[in-house]
């Protein structure tokens, strides 16, 4: 929990990882390029005092993770969202055994989500059943740009993916976190297009679809589909650290999200270990929309409380102390949140 100025914030970090990108686990040049790319994000967007060495960045281990999140980072509960990247790393990028064991040891603090890849076909469906039982899955993290043999991406509305979503429904895996990656077949179209999220969200209204990075770099496409689908949510992974280097851009991201999808469908995350939660939470609680951006209303304390933890806690049935709970906003389910300023029905 984080407390400031007499206000208490229940914190859920909805997107964390325990990865291993040490040299002995790197399989090929792409594995090196992938962690280098993450490290450049980290160096580019972090305050100078928060920049780690590449050695620290390549692997943290459970003990350091617990310290960064729960001892130093104000986090009450965190959710693993592992990327497999089996073509780049010998033992995968996200460390399944270590992370799931850590979650089993601290069930009050950690939830382990796993992943699946529809290109694994029927065998993958059996594996998903086994994983659901082994980990007690409530959610999965899907990375559509995962490489798999000759294929370098898949779409959520591929027929085989639908079989997996049907199985998720049957197994009670209700929270589908989606990371839109930079490569998808065919290359003819925009790789970051979120149109496939629109299709699955319409066809599986009983599943929640959390689009990570709030669709960045296609914030506008994400907002447009999310405003029309009440089961599409926005995860703030990678968007959060702009609060430090590009506060005006961050204000616009939050302003747009609050306008298009409202305060009940946005989830905070540090994207650990890309960044650590402590400074992000401190800065977010202090944050306000700049005065000259009159197109956005100021962010209220209650809205910040929902984003920082209450929204994700609700989705994952994480118990929140009674005095910290808040009711849902009395708002429209779809369409912009300031209907007096715009009329969705007319478009």
């Amino acid at each position: 929990m984080y407390s400031k100025d007499g206000e208490n914030y229940f914190i859920v970090d909805a997107h964390i990882a325990l990865w291993d990108a040490r040299p002995e686990n790197i399989k090929n040049v792409q594995g090196q390029q992938f962690i280098d790319c993450f490290y450049d994000y980290h160096r580019n967007l972090s305050p100078e005092s928060e920049v780690w060495s590449m050695e620290d960045y390549a692997y943290q281990g459970g003990e350091r993770l617990m310290k960064d999140l729960f001892t130093d980072g104000y986090v009450d509960h965190a959710i693993f969202q592992p990327a497999h990247l089996g073509e780049f790393y010998h033992r995968g990028f996200g460390q399944t055994e270590e992370a799931s064991a850590l979650a089993a040891k601290h069930p009050d603090k950690l939830t382990y989500n796993h992943n699946f890849d529809p290109r694994n076909g029927e065998a993958g469906l059996d594996q998903l059943r086994a994983d659901a039982e082994r980990f007690g899955l409530k959610g999965v993290k899907l990375y559509t740009a995962e490489w798999h043999g000759d294929s370098r991406g898949w779409k959520l509305d591929d027929p085989m993916a639908y079989r997996y979503f049907e199985l998720c429904r049957e197994l009670g895996i209700t929270n589908i976190h989606i990371h839109k990656g930079p490569t998808i077949r065919p290359l003819d179209r925009d790789a970051f297009d979120v149109a496939d999220v629109d299709h699955v969200a319409t066809d599986f209204t009983d599943l929640n679809f959390v689009v990570e990075h709030v669709g960045l770099p296609r914030l506008e496409d994400f907002c447009w589909i999310a405003t029309q689908e009440p089961n599409v949510h926005g995860g703030l992974a990678v968007a959060m650290p702009f609060i430090h280097t590009r506060p005006r851009y961050f204000a616009q991201i939050i302003g747009e999200l609050l306008y298009w999808i409202g305060e009940d469908r946005i989830q905070f995350s540090s994207d650990y270990a890309l960044w650590t939660p402590r400074w992000l939470i401190e800065q977010f609680v202090d944050f306000q929309i700049p005065e000259d951006m009159s197109e956005y209303a100021p962010i209220s304390t209650d809205t910040k409380k929902k984003i920082l933890g209450l929204n994700a806690a609700k989705m994952y049935d994480i118990e929140v102390p009674a005095e910290l709970r808040l009711p849902e906003a009395d708002e429209t389910e779809t369409g912009p949140r300031q209907p007096e300023a715009a009329d969705l029905a007319s478009v």
């Binding site: 580019n44 770099p217 914030l219 280097t245 009329d343």
Partner: protein, 269 residues
């Protein structure tokens, strides 16, 4: 009578190469690759050229990477007097595939084989539409802010002649031309990619959608520029200023106070 040895006609110079590359745009960020600092090196031997490109990350989308590299090759081959042209993309996860495709003139489908279906025309068009949408929003929001009596709903009636001359209007006209929209003074500003306008009640929503597009492009542009500077130290020297979406953390940011007339600055305590 002696004659000075004039530069031979059509000599290939560094400057000529870079000016030729000014027409190559990053479609997603809507800026020339020369302004973004994506041109890493230009080597000229006689009439032969070797140009290396660089991008902000190894995982930048390969379709955009290919577009910029092949557009560069086309632009350089059109240079008068040029000999052999080699364009290479450095440090990308698909460098080997793309560079091989360029060297063998394999084209888009030959380069990406089973990953390519038809062409990149649709991709290019998608981002030309977004660039127009963003340019339109910049002009209309600026007009709205400069005229307190103007309401959002009235923006649907604004025509090109109502816009003040300047960078934003020029930018809009350029994007209209790309899409084949007319640039006559009486043309409506707020139109979709087909030139169709909006009913007054649709205007506020259309403006909000356009705004989210503009925010996205500006945000991506500055983030990509920053990542390039982090990845390649010194590359910031090759970037030109982008005023749209600029923030105090940007190396080219000029605070308003620096723009005050000298007398005012001197009289302040």
């Amino acid at each position: 009578m002696t004659t000075l040895a004039a530069a031979p006609a059509h000599e290939v110079t560094q400057d000529a190469v870079r000016r030729a590359l000014d027409v190559v745009f990053d479609p997603e960020l809507d800026e020339p690759i020369t302004d973004l600092g994506f041109v890493r090196s230009v080597d000229i031997v006689g009439r032969d050229l070797e140009v290396h490109l660089r991008l902000p990350t190894s995982f930048c989308s390969p379709n955009f990477a290919y577009l910029m590299a092949s557009d560069s090759q086309d632009a350089l081959r059109a240079l008068p007097g040029v000999g052999r042209v080699v364009v290479e993309l450095d440090d990308h996860h698909d460098s080997a595939i793309i560079n091989h495709g360029l060297a063998t003139d394999a084209g888009y489908r030959g380069t990406f084989r089973h990953e390519a279906e038809d062409s990149l025309d649709e991709l290019r068009h998608t981002f030309q539409v977004k660039a127009h949408t963003a340019a339109m929003e910049r002009c209309l929001t600026a007009l709205l802010r400069s005229d307190v009596d103007l309401t959002e709903a009235e923006l649907g009636r604004v025509v090109l002649a109502d816009l003040p001359d300047g960078h934003e209007k020029e930018s809009l006209l350029r994007r209209r031309t790309t899409l084949g929209l007319g640039c006559q003074a009486s043309a409506q500003v707020m139109v979709d990619q087909h030139g169709v306008g909006y009913e007054p009640r649709q205007v506020p929503m259309a403006l909000r959608r356009a705004r989210s597009t503009r925010i996205s492009i500006d945000g991506n542009a500055h983030f990509c520029r920053g990542l390039l500077r982090t990845r390649y130290p010194g590359s910031g020297d090759d970037q030109t200023r982008r005023a749209d979406g600029e923030e105090p953390s940007d190396p080219t940011f000029v605070p308003l106070s620096a723009l005050l007339p000298r007398s005012q600055k001197e009289s302040s305590p």
